[in-house]
């Protein structure tokens, strides 16, 4: 079956002619291999139906060249259909158009998805407010700068309006950018009805069925609410509700101390709330490098009006009603015994996100989700229940659960488009940066120190750690924001960057020097010669690279080598 599908690609060749023209050198390069590759293709068809990864690009070419060989031509409505117009789908669509694919995007809700409407974007608006409030409220900080500000106040409605405005602005930007490029936006919920076939439609309307050579699932995720928790959208809320900022409670419990919980604690405490964290693991801020999370705790948690319960599950949360507050039952994560009961004004459930893959019709193509996530290989190709690749079907972003970040989804989408247009590409997830927009910010790329140590032991190499402080940075001191740390985990033998973690002013903007270096395979001994403007915060990283002790000499030729694949 797989091979028939790949043969059918031949039929699309006329519509995607440009691909052949633009990539003719590659094609020529493969010419000599054709016959042999053809053999492989036949072989795989007869056996498992699974194509080896390394021959994928080639086998496609072969099928194209043999397309006239008896297979009935079949035409598709589109080269590429993307289900879900979030940041992942949008990134993929834009890149697909750039590559000349006829592209459609199916969206059942609003364009922009979680990130734009209920996630990163509106939360940044709230955090922008909280950052300023925090600064204005810090008499100590203001005095140090010689500033006098009378009581800072805020208008909740105004703050909420700002968040909402920015979301609708970005949403229309996304919509316009796709329309302008000729991406068809199909409205309705998309369902896969068979190979290369998708139906979409609104409830109560007749469904339309469209076909495409390749399909990308990019349906994203929704807030995950553990069982036992009753979300009423008023006093027990998820990030979806919290971003509307309909009220600022005096005391709010935040269940989960990951990115989402941390960012909201920053917002709520700046607006005058007190916060209680409930974390199932033994440490707050799991997932961050331990050293960074410890420092972050000292700055972001301890001095603020925040307390916390770790190692406990919120097993039951009842919204405020009948004159009673929100009641939270805490259960010990290990002993499963009732531990405490909290009474608060509101509870925000920030326990992570669950993939939104119900109703996608995955059963029609024999794909079974794992806890809702669509199983994929490292090229985002969907794997069916038998462990075989489903041809022409990809899944990116939160729906595959590889790395639940908007920009990771977009990068995965671009990677898929590269593949379907003939260039093999594997996204190195270790080069994807992440950021938490607290004040100050936290950012990271690559491995944490424990992960790096584990890998070092397994693979038998040494690692070293270098650190620099924001206190030594002129710009940070000028801003009176010297609190912060940058940490580099690297291989002293060859200068490879394994991970960089930053906690400090504008950390989210600073991380890209490190993530780009990882993506391009730049080594420390080379990047340390790069020049940074003085005085800027970027010198924190400059100093970090310079403080690393690498045995390998700087490379004589261009420092940019082959991209490092994960």
């Amino acid at each position: 079956m797989h091979s028939t599908l790949s043969f059918s690609r031949a039929t699309t060749v006329p519509t995607t002619n440009y691909a052949f023209h633009s990539q003719s050198p590659i094609n020529l390069r493969f010419c000599g291999l054709r016959r042999e590759a053809f053999g492989i293709s036949i072989l795989t068809r007869s056996s498992s139906g699974r194509v080896r990864l390394s021959t994928r690009g080639r086998s496609k070419r072969i099928s194209a060249s043999t397309g006239n060989n008896g297979t009935p031509p079949k035409s598709f409505d589109y080269d590429l259909i993307i289900i879900g117009a979030g940041v992942g789908g949008h990134g993929a669509a834009l890149h697909a158009v750039e590559k000349g694919l006829k592209t459609a995007i199916i969206e059942g809700d609003v364009v922009g998805g979680t990130c734009v409407n209920r996630g990163c974007v509106p939360s940044k608006a709230l955090l922008a407010v909280s950052g300023r409030m925090r600064e204005l409220q810090s008499e100590h900080h203001m005095k140090a700068l010689g500033l006098q500000v009378s009581a800072a106040g805020y208008d909740r409605q105004g703050v909420a309006g700002h968040a909402n405005n920015i979301a609708s602005k970005i949403r229309s930007n996304l919509t316009n950018s796709m329309k302008a490029l000729g991406v068809d936006i199909l409205t309705g919920f998309g369902t896969i009805v068979g190979p290369q076939k998708v139906k979409y439609g609104k409830v109560g309307f007749t469904d339309n069925v469209v076909t495409a050579k390749d399909i990308i699932i990019a349906t994203g995720s929704v807030p995950f609410v553990p069982k036992g928790i009753e979300v009423d959208g008023k006093t027990v809320i998820t990030s979806d509700h919290a971003l509307k900022l309909e009220f600022v409670p005096d005391w709010i419990a935040i269940v989960g101390s990951g990115y989402i919980g941390l960012e909201f604690s920053d917002v709520y405490t700046a607006l005058g709330s007190e916060v209680t964290f409930i974390e199932a693991l033994d440490q707050l801020m799991p997932g961050f490098d331990p050293e960074i999370s410890k420092l972050a705790q000292r700055v972001l948690i301890n001095p603020r009006k925040i307390d916390y319960h770790t190692g406990v599950f919120a097993t039951k949360i009842t919204p405020a009603r009948d004159g009673k507050p929100v009641i939270i039952e805490l259960t010990d994560a290990k002993t499963k015994e009732h531990k405490d009961t909290l009474e608060v004004d509101a509870a925000l459930i920030a326990t992570g996100r669950a993939p939104f893959t119900n109703g996608l019709g995955l059963e029609n193509i024999n794909v079974v989700t794992q806890r809702g996530f669509v199983p994929v290989d490292e090229r985002m190709r969907v794997i069916d229940a038998n462990g075989n690749l489903v041809p022409h079907l990809y899944c990116i972003g939160d729906a595959n659960g590889k790395m639940m970040l908007a920009h990771a989804a977009s990068a995965q989408g671009i990677s898929v488009v590269e593949q379907v247009t003939g260039r093999d590409h594997v996204l190195n997830h270790l080069s994807v940066p992440a950021a938490c927009f607290t004040h100050p910010e936290i950012s990271m790329v690559g491995l944490t120190e424990p992960q790096a140590r584990e890998k070092a032991v397994k693979e038998g190499f040494e690692i070293s750690v270098a650190k620099t402080s924001f206190k030594a940075n002129t710009k940070a001191l000028a801003e009176n924001e010297g609190e912060g740390l940058a940490k580099l985990i690297y291989r002293p033998d060859n200068g490879e960057i394994l991970g960089v973690h930053i906690f400090g002013l504008h950390a989210a903007d600073l991380i890209h020097e490190a993530s780009n270096a990882i993506a391009l395979g730049t080594r420390i001994q080379d990047i340390k010669f790069a020049v940074h403007a003085h005085p800027t915060l970027s010198e924190v990283l400059d100093e970090l690279f310079k403080s690393a002790k690498v045995k390998a000499p700087a490379s004589t030729s261009s420092p940019i080598s082959e991209p490092v694949a994960a």
């Binding site: 925090r134 409220q137 810090s138 008499e139 100590h140 140090a144 009378s150 009581a151 800072a152 106040g153 805020y154 208008d155 005096d250 005391w251 405490t269 700046a270 607006l271 005058g272 007190e274 916060v275 209680t276 033994d282 440490q283 410890k294 301890n302 001095p303 603020r304 009006k305 925040i306 307390d307 770790t310 009673k324 507050p325 010990d332 290990k334 015994e337 009732h338 531990k339 405490d340 009961t341 909290l342 009474e343 004004d345 650190k467 620099t468 402080s469 924001f470 206190k471 030594a472 010297g482 609190e483």
Partner: protein, 537 residues
């Protein structure tokens, strides 16, 4: 911390200096007795500040103090309290006594002069590890930084009393060091009695129930709720910040009665219990108090605003100031820094009223008439039109700009009639009409409301017979005009007659304008009003 330390190198230096510790260990050795002494002291309830100060700088100067000491002092105390159930599996009580000198406790060190308790970041060694003198055993987090703590003795880490992530007061035992493997079992038994049932990471098989033999920590921190809270008396609910404040000000939270929603204990309750003035609340927002102790710093900061406000009446609503109201409030508070006095003067207005009737059809308002009269009087008394900007000099204003207070849209604004002495009455009236329209539409330009050199406030139209006004900052005087009323007056010859009289009351800055100046000005003003023909010229 930031400002205290200043240098980036500080924490790093500290860490680096760790490596020198072995070389100074011997000198530290002699300190041990002192440290031990201190630990002893810290067990007696009110912590002896004097000794603490003596001991801790000492320890912190040598950086990372370490600590493990002979436990001979504590063992006898402990041995009897170990319930037999927990010892049964180990060895006999008698044996404990014989080997007591071989089991040592590792204490929570004082890593800085301000440290009262420390948190175990991580145990570098785990139970059963063999330690040699000078090795890092545990990483402790103080209020300032994380530091490695080393051991003074060779031995085996027999038991960890305070697990990772837990907190212990300075001087409390956090781990037990055994000299040989034989003593591990006893050390563990000892650890069990130390940690009681609350330490999950402590390994003893049967934690002694109710073995509350731990020597009372110097400062009693509010005990975390017991694992199984009985549903009996209602438990105390305190907000996170209330708990922090309670700890900071050493308030026993159980003794505080909560006044917050659902009877919870709020930060204000703790402040009240600690005898502090309630923290400032701005527009319903509690100002975030940073790590530093708030009490001493707050007193001067709160000087401008009354610091002790009565608690709000239940059911009251708080409506934040609009920008205009906030500006008024600010100006009013500022005005308190100016020494003012008031002079009143009765003015006969029959002639003015007659004139008003005549010019009214031409669009002239009483406001314009009064402003013109004041401006003309001011022209003769430039002092009253001056102001005192810096407390050291007079500022004579070249223009006579009459600001007139008007209530608009729930606010108060003072559109300014510029050069009121120079414009004629009709132009002035027209100008006034424009200004009022602009003010209603909120379109006044700044110089149209902040360039006044003298203010006129008239409440006469409401029947107010007299009032006094607050002098706006930046001006020398303000005139408050009451209603003109028929009044029986007796003239010099004893004849009674009825005349319309109004009371004007001028508030002035006494730094520059004295009583006689104001009296002279009012006399001139009165003459102009009583002979108003000049107003129309």
């Amino acid at each position: 911390m930031q400002t205290q330390l200043g240098s980036a190198a500080f924490p790093r230096l500290l860490r680096r200096s760790l490596s020198y510790i072995p070389s100074i260990l011997y000198s530290l050795h002699s300190l041990l007795n002192l440290f031990h002494f201190f630990r002893f002291l810290s067990n007696s309830a009110p912590q002896s500040q004097k000794h603490k100060e003596m001991a801790s700088p000492f320890l912190s100067n040598t950086t990372i103090s370490f600590s493990s000491s002979l436990s001979s002092s504590s063992l006898p105390r402990i041995a009897p309290s170990i319930p037999f159930s927990s010892i049964r599996s180990n060895s006999t009580p008698r044996r404990i006594l014989t080997v007591r000198s071989k089991i040592r406790e590792i204490f929570m060190p004082a890593l800085s002069s301000t440290m009262t308790e420390g948190k175990i970041v991580s145990w570098v060694k785990s139970e059963g590890d063999v330690l040699s003198k000078g090795e890092s055993v545990v990483v402790v987090e103080s209020d300032k930084a994380d530091m490695d703590v080393e051991t003074f003795y060779d031995g085996i880490l027999a038991a960890i009393v305070v697990g990772e992530g837990e907190t212990a007061p300075v001087g409390a035992a956090i781990g037990i060091l055994a000299e040989t493997e034989d003593e591990i079992a006893e050390a563990k038994a000892k650890a069990a009695s130390k940690s009681g049932a609350s330490t999950p990471s402590a390994p003893p098989p049967a934690p002694a129930p109710g073995a509350a033999s731990t020597p009372g920590p110097p400062k009693s921190t509010p005990a975390p709720a017991a694992p199984t809270v009985a549903e009996g008396p209602r438990k105390t609910v305190a907000t996170p910040f209330a708990k922090k404040l309670a700890k900071q000000h050493k308030v026993d939270i159980e003794s505080v009665v909560g006044t917050g929603p659902y009877g919870r204990i709020t930060p204000e309750d703790i402040e009240a219990a600690a005898g502090l003035s309630p923290s400032k609340k701005n527009v319903g927002l509690a100002v975030v108090v940073e790590t530093k102790p708030a009490a001493p710093a707050k007193a001067p900061a709160a000087s401008a605003a009354p610091s002790s406000l009565p608690p709000p009446v239940p059911g009251s609503t708080v409506v934040p100031f609009t920008t205009m109201q906030a500006a008024v409030s600010k100006n009013m508070v500022e005005s308190l820094s100016v020494p003012t006095f008031r002079v009143g003067y009765p003015v006969t207005t029959d002639a003015l009223d007659a004139l008003y009737e005549k010019v009214k059809p031409k669009g002239v308002t009483m406001t314009a008439l009064l402003a013109k009269a004041a401006a003309m009087a001011l022209a003769q008394h430039p002092l009253v039109n001056s102001s005192c900007k810096d407390g050291k000099s007079f500022t004579y204003n070249s223009n006579i700009n009459i600001a007139v207070a008007v209530a608009i849209n729930g606010g108060l604004i003072t559109p300014v009639l510029q050069d009121a002495d120079k414009l004629d009455l009709y132009l002035l009236s027209q100008k006034w009409k424009e200004l009022v329209e602009k003010a209603r539409a909120k379109q006044l330009q700044p110089q149209e409301y902040n360039s006044g050199t003298f203010t006129l406030s008239n409440l006469g139209m409401f029947g107010v017979d007299r009032f006094d006004a607050i002098l706006p900052p930046g001006q020398g005087a303000i005139m408050a005009v009451g209603a003109s009323k028929p009044t029986v007056v007796a003239d010099a010859d004893g004849f009674f007659s009825v005349k319309n009289k109004m009371l004007v009351n001028v508030t002035a800055d006494h730094r520059i304008i004295y009583g006689a100046d104001l009296a002279a000005f009012l006399q001139t003003f009165s003459k102009i009003v009583e002979n108003p023909e000049s107003l129309t010229l």
